[in-house]
Symmetry: C2
């Protein structure tokens, strides 16, 4: 087990009607907030009305900034930073999914910084402080509601880059599974794939003696895999959504990677894809991850065999190699069963684009830790995904 | 799944040599601390020298208060409170196991309170604030290094009572498995039993649809069960100790109980025992828990059957009832294999004392949630444990 530093201070307020506690919780930090959200879905669902009523009841003043889109844009982030500076706002409340939360985190980093917030994403500068962020989560997927990650798309440069800092871990996040009932089904499927991918990035590690987190990763994956078909069959299943929503949070609060060496190559490979094609992140991951697995499994066949047994319940009288391949096949089949594409051609990527994508994915050097990947390796993975 | 509120802000700094970071981390909070510890073991092991050197290097002034004993006493807590008030100390650094940490937490609660700190334990008052506490853990067991619990023995009243508040969650805890190498073997066994008990108290719940935390509890238990014999066979096994130490932390940071209804009857039954006989908590739990299981399993035979299968690997062609009993037997056998007593007579408790113990355990009313236990039920459990 590697040395580690685990810090996940976000308070998770989970369950029915918890959104009604928003105002009183914000009030503990600030009496004015930027209310940040996406399109109109929170207005249709009634959540917007409940949140604003809760803020008013707690006497929290707020300025609104809607309009966050999937793969959140740097342009809107800069707008948010301007508003906060102009109005002296020192608290960001994100109501939405991972894109809204990431946009909020980027605003929180940018407000107290003297330069351009994009500096943090291109490693030109390191943030020293950030405004506090809180979230009301409507889409279980990105895990951004308690993670240290923020991913932003620079629309001019067609680059989607992330930054990691404990400074952006939300102070609290409100998770009510009922708000998942009205999600589009494909959104549910993307979310499931995203949270599974977050666990995969941590689970596939060559560090020996990581039994506790091996078990935790496998247990979380089993719970997500068991409940995903249940929510797709009945989008009003509170109990199944609760498992998925809690699972999505745990998948990315950091715990499951402690003592391990995390990989994150597949995320970089996907980011290149969604930056260029503007596809949902969860869709890209469903395409990339099985291909990544096929390319790298021989690095640690025993772990992939264990994955097949402990996550997918495959019998292990199979050879390690056969079991490993079976586990990968089960993963791909599972994504297909959720209605997700598993090949680049399904999302109309031209074969001629692959080389350029591979260069973009490795623009800042080789990626991954389970197996270090150069541009040529990433190209092979895109080919396997074609 | 029940609604829940998860908050575990303690930063866990885990691994080799991490004790050398103590001073710099304390310095972020205070330039003067109460250094609280137990007997001389940290002086013999060299840890004391490293910690004090680290504090000095970071220019953190400190006053020492040693002498914490297992089942930490209210008398020493009051002494610590006096010292802090007199010297204007606003930070407590606990170096030791659960007893030292709990003593530190009680001091942290007492310093800013106008009345007697015991008020919090008899629910006469609710704490509004506490000094920050940090820990350097030397005995993985109680989980107090990130928990919200504090348990203190009132030596005059022969009462051992606990209090729970987020105010006492340590701001950081340093966990280096190397410091377990010199533990007495029986201490290791007590610790393993204690952390398993913390998971049992959360796992045995009648709340339906708790699949994720079911899996996490089982996975954590399996990792602890697999590694306990390894540390007893080789007390210098870093890798096995790392699993145990991390497992002990996870067992009691709150996560594994989220969405469930926690029980805690067995702890109350044990506390009555260790308050009267001054036995180690882990020893008392090894005696009490199998007896509790035997008394309550019919409340949810299916869960006990699942426990047998998923934690102990028992085949499930057994009837649920037979599997449940098998799982309980395996638990008891496991505690015996660690060299722990599993019967009250082994620790020289008189049969005539049981009624009084049962009254003490239920002094504040019925206990437990999985099955609500009156004085007469607790007496039956003590009899099963005899």
């Amino acid at each position: 087990m590697n040395n580690f530093d685990f810090y996940s201070p976000t308070r998770i307020i989970f369950g029915r009607d918890t959104q009604l506690q928003t105002g009183e919780n914000v009030k503990q930090y600030a009496s004015k907030a930027l209310l940040h959200y996406g399109g109109g879905s929170i207005k249709k669902s009634g959540l917007y009305a409940q949140i604003t009523a809760s803020l008013k009841a707690a006497e929290v003043d707020f300025t609104e900034l809607g309009g966050v889109v999937p793969n959140p844009r740097l342009g809107l982030v800069r707008q948010g930073i301007d508003i906060c500076r102009r109005e002296g706002i020192k608290f960001i409340l994100a109501v939405g999914g991972g894109s809204v939360i990431d946009s909020a985190k980027a605003i929180a980093l940018g407000v107290p910084y003297n330069g351009d917030v994009w500096d943090f994403f291109i490693s030109k500068a390191k943030p020293q402080t950030a405004l506090p962020v809180a979230t009301v989560l409507t889409i279980p997927a990105a895990g951004s509601e308690s993670s240290l990650s923020v991913v932003i798309s620079n629309e001019e440069m067609q680059l989607k880059l992330g930054h990691k800092t404990n400074l952006v871990r939300p102070v609290f996040s409100i998770l009510n599974p009922e708000f998942c009932f009205t999600l589009p089904k494909e959104q549910a499927a993307y979310g499931v794939c995203d949270m599974m991918a977050h666990i995969f990035e941590r689970y596939f590690s060559n560090v020996p003696h990581t039994e506790l987190t091996d078990n935790l990763c496998e247990g979380a994956l089993r719970a997500i895999i068991a409940n995903a078909p249940r929510v797709l069959a009945d989008m009003h299943s509170y109990d199944a959504w609760a498992e998925i929503m809690f699972g999505g949070n745990l998948a990315h609060n950091g715990l499951l990677g402690m003592g391990r060496q995390e990989d994150w190559a597949s995320h970089a490979i996907e980011h290149a894809l969604s930056a260029a094609y503007d596809i949902p992140h969860g869709q890209g991951l469903a395409i990339v991850f099985p291909a990544w697995m096929k390319y790298v499994y021989k690095t640690n066949t025993a772990l992939f065999a264990r994955f097949a047994a402990n996550v997918w319940g495959e019998d292990l009288p199979l050879s390690a190699e056969a079991a490993a391949l079976k586990g990968i096949e089960r993963t791909e089949q599972f994504f297909k069963s959720l209605g997700l594409p598993v090949r680049l051609r399904q999302i109309n990527v031209e074969q001629s684009a692959l080389e350029n994508l591979a260069r973009k994915a490795t623009a800042f050097g080789p990626i991954g830790a389970f197996k270090r990947l150069e541009t040529k390796d990433v190209l092979e993975i895109y080919k396997l995904a074609y």
